[in-house]
């Protein structure tokens, strides 16, 4: 069990991790997600007592790491696959760590077998590929047969077979009742490996929930409807019918319609009633990757606004009160394209939900504004 309370780490003016509180429970794989530079590795280093938190604390099994009795037998970690002396053989590297932790030397050969490096054990790790380095790092983490395991980006540089192996290893370790905490910036990988997710962005907690909850909370389902391209009138007719029935309709760049709020059979019935032929009627689920991207992207935007203001206002405010204003609105502008056609809107706060009421609402006969890009290629033709 890992427990962080109000964990904060500042490097000078930069805040790498801010007020992070979470628990990592035994028996499940907990994924630790965040974009590059979001503070995952810093958090891991603080858990391992390598970095001292600026505020807050983190404990493993109730003790700070450095006060743990027999720490290497309770906690194993892979922080950086390249964190080995390249001139040392894999076996010597592991042997030195085993000796340091008071682990019998025969355990070294065991873990070398577990990670599949027994044939290159005598070779200097300088010549190892990134994948072999990852395996060596995983071997070091497993050395003490610990109750708590931390892995920082363990699948980096692994081939598909290696990724599958790591995935199964994590699950097996967790099923044995261990606490497994795995960081990654790949949502797709975590969706397959983890049972629970802790998502951070810019050092702050964005989500702490099970993978199933994360999926249902963050994926917006929609139906894609395509009418014959040769008859644009049919498309407008269908749009009107769908909106009348309470659905939200968005136009996609290639002319298809993205419909939310109506079940597929209902769309089919409405089209039939309106006498419109359909070329496509397909269910779609936004990928978890998109949901995650949007979640972390928003966090980044939100934070950078604050930083910009704090940075600009302090020296300028007395003389130029108006100077601080423009940056306040600046971040709003780039947000519009991000709510693009390929990223679904956040659940519950769909910016397009109110579209029919808005002055620029797509009336059935006025082509919806965002459809403009689809016209361009036609003109260019």
């Amino acid at each position: 069990m890992i427990e962080a309370v109000g964990l904060t780490k500042r490097y000078g003016a930069k805040t790498a991790v801010y007020n992070l509180s979470f628990q990592v429970r035994p028996g499940v794989v907990t994924g630790f997600l965040g974009p590059n530079g979001s503070g995952k590795s810093t958090t891991m280093r603080m858990i391992l007592g390598l970095d001292r938190p600026s505020a807050g604390h983190v404990t493993i099994g109730g003790h700070p790491f450095r006060q743990l009795p027999n720490a290497p037998r309770q906690v194993g970690a892979l922080l950086d696959a390249k964190a080995v002396h390249g001139g040392r053989s894999a076996r010597s590297h592991l042997l030195s760590l085993a000796q340091l932790a008071g682990i019998p030397a025969q355990r070294v050969d065991e873990v070398l077998g577990v990670v599949g490096l027994q044939d290159v054990a005598k070779r200097r790790s300088k010549g190892f590929s990134l994948g072999m380095g990852q395996r060596l790092g995983i071997a070091a983490a497993l050395l003490g047969d610990p109750q708590v395991l931390l892995f920082d980006e363990p699948v980096n540089g692994l081939d598909p077979e290696g990724i599958l192996w790591v995935r199964n290893l994590m699950k097996k370790l967790a099923s044995e009742g261990r606490t497994v905490f795995v960081s990654s910036h790949l949502m797709s990988e975590m969706a397959l490996t983890a049972d629970h997710l802790i998502v951070i962005g810019r050092g702050q907690l964005l989500a702490d929930m099970s993978v199933t909850d994360f999926i249902s909370a963050n994926s917006a389902d929609f139906a894609r409807v395509r009418t014959p391209q040769t008859e644009p009138a049919q498309r407008e007719k269908l749009t009107a019918a769908l909106m009348e029935a309470g659905g939200q309709v968005l136009s996609e760049p290639d002319g298809a319609l993205r419909v939310t709020g109506l079940a597929l059979p209902r769309i089919s019935d409405l089209a039939h009633d309106a006498d419109v032929r359909l070329w496509e009627l397909s269910p779609h689920q936004a990928s978890l990757e998109e949901a995650y991207m949007r979640m972390t992207q928003n966090a980044v935007d939100y934070r950078s606004t604050e930083d910009q203001l704090a940075h600009l206002q302090a020296p300028q405010q007395p003389g130029q009160p108006g100077y601080g204003m423009p940056p306040q609105q600046q971040p709003m502008a780039p947000e519009a394209p991000q709510q693009g056609w390929y990223a679904p809107p956040p659940p519950g706060q769909n910016p397009y939900a109110g579209a029919p009421q808005a002055p620029t609402a797509p009336s059935p006969y006025a082509a919806p504004q965002p459809a403009a890009p689809s016209d361009t290629p036609k003109d260019a033709r």
């Binding site: 390598l50 922080l79 950086d80 040392r88 760590l97 000796q99 340091l100 932790a101 003490g144």
Partner: protein, 277 residues
């Protein structure tokens, strides 16, 4: 009991390793550091070059001295040991710095401190293993060279104290100098930087003093000449101060380098325990 009873899901059975748990101690750290220091080539290279320099220069100087037939006066042949000791110290400095700074350079220090959260224990083990290794190797070869020099050169028979200083004393001096480098490597955390600082510390005072022609700087020049590391090495071989009337002689250089090393090590412990790695 009127309070509603809460039913928590039973906590998953926590994992218990079948490997017997044993509390690690300094002895384990010493074994680990011994494995580390003997499993990298830089150890073999630096110590190998050091041995070659000590033997080559020590025996070469003795051969030239015995061929020249010049009178040695009051001097014993042991003083020739200095010429091998100076280049040997550069090798020892390099190894001392690399022992700790290579862990910072590669990131290995994080793996090490995850396997042993007691940072003082890691540094103590490194210092002991490094000191004993260098002390043993340098003492053995300083003794070999000293025996050969005394046998080859026709000079005054050295006293017992002189023998001790030229062998164990020289070994201890080099090992302490290496320990100072190790402490500096812990403070600077960068191989090239720490080696540069140590080489500068070794040679620059003497070079600077050479060019202090101004009368106004006479006192500075004398202090630099007296306390520069090569001068201290020479002083180790003589009963009286080799330059001027005052200054260290005999066992005193060893005490000076021990004091400086102790201070640097204290700083290294303090920094290692307080700073993020």
């Amino acid at each position: 009991m009127t309070a509603p009873t809460h039913h928590y899901a039973p906590a998953p059975h926590s994992y218990v390793s079948p490997i017997p748990v044993r509390r690690a101690h300094l002895g384990d750290a010493l074994a680990s550091e011994w494995t580390k220091i003997r499993s990298v080539r830089s150890t073999m290279w630096t110590l190998g070059v050091m041995i070659l320099l000590m033997l080559g220069i020590g025996l070469g100087v003795a051969a030239i001295a015995s061929a020249s037939n010049a009178p040695m006066g009051e001097e014993s042949a042991l003083g020739f040991g200095f010429f091998g000791m100076l280049p040997a110290s550069i090798c020892v400095i390099t190894l001392g710095v690399l022992t700790i700074a290579s862990e910072y350079g590669t990131g290995m220090i994080r793996t090490t401190l995850t396997a042993c959260p007691s940072r003082s224990r890691v540094l103590t083990a490194k210092a002991i293993v490094f000191f004993l290794l260098v002390f043993t190797v340098t003492t053995v070869f300083a003794t070999l060279v000293a025996v050969a020099q005394v046998a080859m050169v026709d000079a005054r028979e050295p006293t017992g104290a002189e023998w001790l200083r030229a062998t164990v004393g020289a070994g201890a001096y080099l090992a302490l100098l290496g320990l100072l480098s190790l402490a500096l490597g812990t403070l600077i955390r960068h191989s090239a930087g720490a080696i540069t600082v140590m080489i500068g510390l070794l040679l620059l005072p003497l070079v600077a003093a050479l060019f202090m022609f101004s009368e106004a700087l006479r006192s500075v020049q004398e202090a630099l000449f007296t306390y520069a590391i090569p001068s201290q090495m020479i002083a180790l071989y003589s009963e009286r101060p080799p330059f001027g009337d005052s200054g260290p002689a005999g066992w005193e250089p060893l005490l000076i380098v021990a004091g400086v090393t102790a201070a640097a090590l204290a700083g290294a412990y303090a920094l290692l325990n307080s700073k993020d790695v």
